[in-house]
Symmetry: C2
Subunit: 451 residues, 2 copies
């Protein structure tokens, strides 16, 4: 499956932010890179990008991106780009071949599921000559009503398309599946009618009853996201919307859900503007955890309280790496795994710091034993998490709300440190973690007996 991305235009309304427009950064990732990352995640491996205005910098960026994503990106010069974006289809014809292909606008962001739905239609029998993803939610707050291209529909076909259209049923999302019939349609609209836009070509096909619509709301997902980023205001709206779509993970525990996650999402929004990668954030979070452990180990309430505060701060920051990766479409298995492994070290160090604080004050060996139980129970809890979460998903389709994990553990240390009750916090962690491991063994045993 090949994918055409027309990226030749000027995008004058975003010129203050970036030139050419496809390189305008949204939460640290250029628009065209977002489009390509989204399509690559939906399984698309070959891209043709048409260049016109300021082709050089775009070509360099795409060359690097292809290497990073392991996809093929061919850049095609479109000498006629100033006539309209339909000319890009003709310029890319040799690169696209004679099979069906996708078209994604460089400035229209869509969801991975929308691209997948178009690809699926290309693999099914009876591929339409043109299939346009249409947003039938006429009150979508992300749509700029002044500027959006509207469509009229009848029985799944597009009957009319245009910017000022009256009585429209939906909006053009800029994501298409097209067949080779589109080449002739562009020719006709351009040479015949003087309209070299893609919209003109769609209008040609619609007049012949050959332009179908994919209903975004009914055929893809009721909450599918898309936005046309034309000006700084739309860029802000898009940023707002993407951050707003960040949610906690299904396995978030109560402290994460109601305290850490709301804070970390706010923080991630700010971090997204900085040139920091998710893995760097993971390392910074770990360093903060180590610092918290060292401070916790010092004598006195002030050190204890400071260490507890730093520990809770690292627990909040611990959500940011994953959030940033999701915002930037950069999630990776390795990143998630590294985060989990370093969290285990930070867990051990934090509880060791707290244990030393208690032991140094009391000199009681029993307090070291308590610390050992807290560390061992915490590790065992993480070690059993995959199995337990899998069982919960299989039974309830989600994790439990009251899942006991790292968020609760660090929060107990935090509160215990503030209240100067380090020993009580340590004892509570040891008791809760180990009791929960025993409970999980029990749950797994019941599940095995029932299977």
């Amino acid at each position: 499956m090949r994918c055409l991305i027309p990226a030749a235009g000027r995008g004058s309304r975003l010129a203050r932010v970036a030139e050419p427009k496809p390189l305008a950064p949204l939460l640290g990732v250029p628009l065209v890179e977002r489009v390509i990352r989204t399509a690559a995640r939906a399984g698309v491996r070959e891209f043709c990008v048409t260049l016109g205005h300021r082709a050089g910098s775009l070509r360099r960026h795409l060359g690097q991106l292809a290497g990073r994503l392991g996809v093929a990106i061919r850049c095609v010069d479109n000498p006629d780009w100033e006539a309209g974006n339909g000319t890009s289809v003709l310029a890319a014809r040799a690169c696209l071949g004679e099979g069906p292909f996708l078209i994604l606008m460089a400035d229209h962001l869509v969801d991975e599921c929308t691209v997948r739905a178009l690809v699926r239609r290309a693999e099914a029998p009876d591929v339409p000559d043109l299939l346009l993803a249409v947003d039938t939610d006429l009150s979508n707050p992300l749509v700029d009503r002044e500027d959006v291209t509207r469509v009229r529909l009848e029985g799944g076909r597009i009957t009319a398309i245009g910017k000022g259209l009256e009585g429209a049923h939906g909006y053009d999302t800029g994501a298409f599946l097209a067949g080779p019939a589109l080449y002739a349609a562009v020719e006709r609209a351009w040479r015949g009618g003087g309209d070299a836009s893609l919209t003109g070509a769609v209008r040609e096909l619609a007049a012949e009853g050959r332009a179908a619509a994919l209903d975004l709301r009914r055929e893809v997902a009721a909450d599918a996201f898309w936005i046309d980023v034309d000006d700084p205001a739309a860029l802000r709206r898009a940023e707002e919307a993407l951050v707003g779509r960040l949610r906690g993970k299904a396995t978030d525990g109560p402290v994460s859900r109601w305290l850490n996650r709301p804070l970390s999402i706010r923080l991630t929004r700010q971090l997204a503007r900085l040139p920091v990668t998710p893995n760097q954030l993971t390392l910074a979070t770990f360093a903060l955890g180590c610092l918290a452990a060292a401070v916790l180990a010092l004598p006195g309430h002030l050190a204890l309280a400071t260490g507890g505060l730093l520990a809770q701060a690292s627990s909040v920051l611990d959500g940011c790496d994953g959030e940033l990766a999701r915002l930037r479409l950069e999630e990776s298995d390795f990143g998630g795994w590294l985060d989990a492994v370093l969290d285990r070290y930070a867990d051990g160090f934090l509880l060791a710091g707290l244990t030393w604080h208690v032991y140094a004050a009391s000199g009681a060996a029993a307090h070291l034993l308590l610390g050992l139980l807290a560390v061992t129970g915490s590790f065992a809890l993480s070690y059993t998490a995959d199995k337990y979460d899998g069982l919960m998903r299989a039974r309830f389709g989600r994790g439990g709300t009251w899942r006991l994990g790292r968020d609760v553990r660090v929060f107990i240390v935090f509160v215990g440190a503030l209240l100067d009750t380090a020993l009580a916090a340590l004892a509570l962690v040891a008791a809760l973690m180990n009791a929960e491991v025993v409970r999980r063994i029990w749950v797994a045993r019941q599940a095995a007996a029932a299977a």
Copy 2:
């Protein structure tokens, strides 16, 4: 897929061991239970067992077994059992129905893969009227040449079958796939020829060219196991063979491979005679590990050496639960998981015991920190094992020979304790475990970059 198990006969040669013969225990599991467990693992869910001699005790055992395995086992009385085992086919006709069915002898043990191969043939087009799994390895040392039923083959068909057969090409393994044509064949052989044995019925079908052979060596597996257990000598041979087939796991480290596993297999062979379950062994191993930790923590070289010896003993015993489960066909996900979780606790306790031994003698807080690093590194190593083993399998098709894990860790503690160099052992564990975690992170990062 239904499975007939003729279990009506007397089995006089095993009468000293158990009556009826299908209940003769092999490594703690009755023969007929082994046959049913093997078939259940191959996906068979419905069994018809024909009863004759001493039906009562067999019926009770099968009733309990059906509940434990979650399969249906219908017991059918065979009033004609003394005439020959072919009569069991007729007695079970109502229970078996008119589709193809499996026949497994209650006293012939076969591998799961052999049953799977027969089931696959039943699901393919052109199901033969009879398909007998035939061992074409004429030098198979497990075969009792005095007593075995031999077959002559021609182009995949059985041309002759019988005990004293000259010029035979293979041995009857007692595992069949049969169709309803077998009912008439038994009738003909019994009423017509006076031979009510299954062999007689196969001979009838062979004469009509309707008896096919499944070549165990070429069509199933070159090392597929089977044995006919007729007398105490065969029972001993079977025990020997099953124990001999126990191997280490692909992820066994060097100490496990060359020290622990050879010892644990010897031990498991003895344990198999006792009424102990694999999960009970897991708990006993954990208890021994806790005891070792407590003894390690005591002052003096004698305590240290004893603790080290107990720790190494628990490391050897740690292999037995899995081996016993495999010998008894009782492996379970839960069992393996419980073993892993308790190993993590034992790990933490052992290293804590060693740490306390060192710290109590020196009073140096740095030694506690070293202990913390050893515990944390050990946990992190276990935590990263799944990921690392998966990467190694994907790259090399197996685990690395020099895999660093629990076996090496405990062995270092053992040697350090014997040599009275507890501090050096602790430092070595801390250094090795954490260095290996860092190496694994590096390996995972490289693999992610290459993907």
